[in-house]
């Protein structure tokens, strides 16, 4: 058979191939004898002295400045203690050592270990902001604890501490879910939690690098295996003006409340201060959780941003906008006169004016300057709740201003439809009377009022408040008769400069504005407002602008439970405006760029004096 004859040479060649195969296997076995038997002890020694570490290198965050170049957020060097859990022989012992050196409490250490994410070789940050003594203690015990390593990193520092805490914001450790969603993120990354830090996180954040290095059995670095360098984030200039912010905080003192000041020409927010405030350093680290728990449980709610998140009844500060609505719809004109005898009966209820004796005959200007309630009860009734809602929405109430959308409240404009859908009770016709003096189901934020008054001050141009300048469309001017706008503005000048104006104590300043007093609790007959318990006292409002001819600053102030607007809120706004005007004209022009070199001098006006 042909096949059998032909297979001979194939067989011989096959034998050669398999001889080669077994020779190769034999050589490999010899190599194993050499490596494992002859030199096994040497290699074992090397293995025991061999540690590979992956050290994440955080990218430095960008700094934040105010409009004059003052530093709002910076990075300061800090010693951090890293633990490489894989290398520890006994983690309990490590925990005891850390506790005995006062670096980390045992409880915190256990929590850190429990939260540890496997699958990615990342060291745990077990100590922050170490003192020199602690660094020395770790170094001297390095032989016992090779799994610990002191590294120099950066910690976020806010030079103004509580003064700008709400506006600038603070950091928080990245959440587990975020790390799982994006494996490129380091588990010990700190990201913006609130304020500018959160809003501009993508711009501020750098990107992490990593270094793989070989270390000896006692934790000494032997060599870098490979390295990717981190990149830093961008520095950022905000619109805030710390000199004004400081004046605002000083004027408010230890009272609870919020102050927003913005430039009505462009919406740049110069002051955003909420009181009581807190020291953002509490959030600077990953470990000191007990500190911020006490902050969260504080009955004064220092973490709440009263300018953006707090919603309040606007009280009489809403009146100028209802007046504009009434004028534009032709329901009133500047000569319409109402007689106020201190109260009026509408829908079967008696509604009182704040002045028990009444104002007598009031026209629009007096109604605003002296804040006559009866005038607006009647105007509100004419506008109807739908009309009121439509006009207030036009001025930006009931929706977010866009300053910090995830955090800010939209406020509330109560309507019959809202009442049915949300409140699940019928709408009482009498509620429109309450709404027309800024009470009842009408809630606004401080920044909404500042935004709305900016529109009054600048002659009808809506502005979007901002802390960080960004390109956005300039909204079209509102279709309001300029004559009506001038009438209302003139009436608000009278509030300060008129003989009977509710803020006449500020008449020395070239400003205009509106006081407001928002009821927290219904007054019982025979109880005076200032006799109420402090948490039931009225909220005091003042919103105004300066200077009179070309307004450059709008200030909105709420003092929680401050009593009446003219007595407690107006002086605060006056202080801020005084501070602004004291800064001198050339400092207050609009800059093309919102960051400039620190002027770092006394007020320019000092030159003249």
């Amino acid at each position: 058979m042909k096949l059998r004859e032909d297979i001979g040479p194939l067989r011989r060649r096959t034998v050669v191939i398999f001889l080669l195969v077994f020779t190769a296997l034999g050589l490999i076995h010899l190599r194993l004898v050499h490596l494992q038997l002859a030199h096994g002890a040497q290699w074992r020694n090397l293995a025991e002295n061999n540690r590979l570490r992956r050290l994440p290198l955080p990218g430095p965050r960008g700094w934040i400045y105010d409009r004059r170049g003052e530093v709002l957020a910076e990075n300061v060097p800090s010693w951090e203690l890293l633990l490489f859990p894989d290398e520890a022989t006994n983690l309990d012992e490590t925990g005891l050592f850390l506790a005995s050196e006062g670096i980390t409490e045992t409880k915190t250490f256990r929590e850190l270990l429990a939260e540890r994410r496997t699958g990615r070789q990342a060291p745990l940050v077990v100590g922050e902001n170490l003192t020199w003594n602690q660094v020395a203690a770790v170094h001297s015990h390095q032989g016992d604890h090779p799994e610990l390593s002191v590294v120099s990193r950066f910690r976020r520092h806010y030079p103004f501490a509580s003064l700008a805490a709400h506006a600038v914001g603070h950091l928080r450790p990245i959440s587990k879910a975020q790390v799982e969603a994006n494996p490129d993120l380091e588990p010990d990354l700190m990201i913006g939690a609130t304020g500018i830090e959160a809003d501009q996180n993508a711009f501020l954040a750098g990107s992490s690098g990593e270094r793989w290095m070989m270390v000896s059995a006692v934790g000494r670095q032997l060599g870098v295996v490979r390295e990717t360098l981190p990149t830093s984030g961008h520095d950022l200039g905000s619109a805030l003006d710390m000199r004004l912010q400081r004046a605002a905080a000083a004027a408010l003192g230890d009272r609870s409340g919020g102050i927003v000041a913005l430039d009505p020409r462009n919406g740049a927010v110069r002051v955003l201060y909420s009181s009581p405030s807190f020291d953002p350093a509490v959030f600077g680290g990953r470990l000191s959780r007990s500190d911020w728990q006490t902050l969260q449980e504080d009955p004064e709610h220092p973490l709440q941003n009263r300018c953006l998140q707090g919603v309040y009844p606007p009280g009489s500060t809403i009146k100028p906008f209802l007046a504009l609505g009434g004028l534009n719809e032709g329901l009133i004109d500047e000569h319409t006169t109402v007689y106020c005898n201190g109260s009026i009966v509408l829908y079967g209820h008696r509604f009182r004016c704040w002045r028990r004796g009444g104002h007598g005959f009031v026209d629009l200007e007096r109604a605003l300057a002296e804040s006559c309630d009866v005038y607006f009860y009647l105007l509100g009734q004419k506008l109807g709740i739908e009309g009121i809602a439509r006009w207030l929405q036009l001025f930006g109430f009931g929706s977010k201003t866009g300053l910090d959308p995830p955090f800010e409240s939209a406020g509330l404009i109560g309507t019959p439809e809202w009442s049915r859908r949300v409140r699940k009770t019928p709408w009482y016709p009498g509620e429109v009377v309450s709404v027309s003096i800024g009470q009842g189901p009408l809630l606004v934020t401080v920044v909404q009022l500042a935004q709305a008054f900016a529109l009054l001050a600048n002659g009808g141009h809506p502005v979007r408040p901002y802390l960080v300048p960004e390109d956005s469309e300039i909204p079209a001017p509102l279709e309001i008769n300029p004559r009506y706008l001038e009438r209302v503005k003139a009436a608000l000048v009278e509030v300060v400069h008129g003989d009977h104006g509710t803020a006449r104590r500020l008449s020395a300043l070239p400003m205009a504005g509106k006081t407001g007093t928002a009821q927290v609790a219904r007054l019982q007959e025979g109880v005076a407002a200032d006799e109420l318990a402090s948490h039931l006292r009225h909220h005091a409002w003042f919103v105004g602008w300066a200077p009179l001819d070309k307004p450059e600053i709008v200030v909105a102030v709420i003092v929680e439970h401050g009593g009446d607007g003219s007595g407690s809120a107006a002086p605060v706004a006056g202080k801020v405006i005084e501070a602004y005007l004291g800064l001198g004209q050339e400092d207050n022009t609009i800059e093309t760029s919102d960051v400039e070199a620190p002027t770092a001098g006394p007020f320019p006006s000092a030159e003249g004096g």
């Binding site: 058979m1 042909k2 096949l3 059998r4 032909d6 297979i7 040479p9 194939l10 067989r11 060649r13 096959t14 034998v15 050669v16 191939i17 398999f18 195969v21 077994f22 190769a24 296997l25 490999i28 076995h29 190599r31 194993l32 004898v33 490596l35 494992q36 038997l37 030199h39 096994g40 002890a41 040497q42 290699w43 074992r44 090397l46 293995a47 025991e48 061999n50 540690r51 590979l52 894989d86 290398e87 496997t118 699958g119 990615r120 070789q121 290095m213 070989m214 032997l222 060599g223 870098v224 295996v225 490979r226």
Partner: protein
């Protein structure tokens, strides 16, 4: 009754899988996936395929060789068009929940066709144009794989070509010429084609200490792992090299180092004996079959498997540069395991063929 499957070969395969699974399990935590479950499923599937492939008659493989070769090329083209990229190589195709590496399967069809071509040249020595055709059969899939690029798999086609030419028979003068060409080709490759990191890998073979934290890092760590195993090893899951992530690619390219660290010289000797048994049984099939096609087929499979074992172990033990060639039946990877089992199934089909009355 004669066994239909070679029990010794099956013993070797099961033994290798039995060593592989606990090794992979011991590094699952480090790698971060449950390797044991996946590889166990692949192992069972592989044994099933081995048995199914052994049932097919040898002459059917011969007749289907061309069609299968065409299908293999089609798969390689498809991967270039619709493939999934992983770590820079576009080598995988997603089929529902699993990803398949067509280059692993094209190798079997290449072997089937090359063996058929060689078996039908009845002359004592191959003529030059027959040798060229053989080279072309291997070259087409290799070129497509280089385009992916997956050099590790492309390299495993080289022993198939050399073994085919050797079995077909070439005059000595041609071998000398081929070796000279290979040397010239290697020089040109060194100067013009290799990337700097690839050159560094080769340099560190000659001088292992030249860059212990850079290019020499992997091999150095691998040698430390193997050497520190000593006589009896640290035990699975105990070795510091594997558990502390010193070793790179510990479930694929460097899986043997994990085993060596854990089980020491005793374990590595057993593992080498298993490979020796496997190859001895393949040699036995090659030397006892009466079919020319069967001989060539089995030798090509044996040459390929030996090449992978030698190149992988050579790399792990610091003799050869790191190339990405995995250890058959031991490294993690579904496509590689299945294609190895399928090839062994073909070997078993040749083994069964001796029972067919001629």
């Amino acid at each position: 009754m004669e066994h239909r499957l070679d029990p010794w070969l099956i013993l070797a395969v099961v033994g290798l899988l039995g060593a592989s699974l606990p090794t992979l399990h011991s590094v699952s935590r480090v790698v971060g996936t449950n390797l044991l479950l996946r590889q166990s499923l692949w192992g069972i599937t592989g044994l099933l395929i081995l048995w199914l492939m052994s049932l097919v008659r040898l002459d059917i493989y011969e007749r289907l060789a061309t069609v299968l070769y065409g299908a293999g090329l089609a798969g390689l083209i498809a991967v270039l068009l619709f493939g999934v990229a992983r770590g820079g190589n576009r080598a995988w195709i997603a089929l529902g929940p699993i990803t398949v590496q067509p280059s692993e399967f094209a190798r079997i069809s290449t072997i089937l066709l090359a063996a058929a071509w060689i078996a039908h040249r009845s002359a004592r020595n191959l003529r030059i144009h027959h040798a060229a055709t053989t080279a072309a059969i291997v070259a087409f899939p290799v070129l497509l794989i280089i385009l992916e690029p997956d050099m590790g798999v492309a390299l495993t086609y080289v022993p198939i070509l050399i073994a085919a030419l050797w079995l077909g028979g070439l005059p000595r003068i041609v071998w000398v010429l081929l070796i000279i060409c290979a040397l010239i080709g290697a020089t040109i490759t060194w100067h013009y084609a290799l990337k700097p990191y690839q050159k560094e890998r080769i340099r560190t073979v000659v001088d292992p200490d030249r860059d212990p934290f850079g290019a020499g890092y992997q091999v150095r760590q691998s040698k430390i792992a193997v050497g520190s195993g000593g006589l009896s090893g640290h035990g699975l899951g105990q070795g510091s090299q594997s558990q502390l992530r010193f070793l790179p690619a510990q479930h694929t390219d460097f899986a043997f180092a994990v085993w060596a660290e854990a089980t020491g010289f005793v374990g590595t000797t057993l593992l080498l004996l298993a490979y020796a048994l496997l190859l001895a049984r393949i040699a036995n099939v090659a030397l006892t079959t009466e079919s020319r096609y069967g001989v060539v087929l089995v030798v090509l499979v044996g040459a390929w498997l030996t090449f992978q074992v030698v190149v992988n172990l050579g790399m792990v033990l610091g003799w050869l540069p790191t190339t990405g060639v995995t250890l058959p039946l031991f490294s993690y990877g579904g496509s590689s395991l299945i294609s190895t089992c399928a090839a062994l199934g073909v070997v078993q089909a040749v083994w069964r063929y001796r029972l067919v009355n001629q």
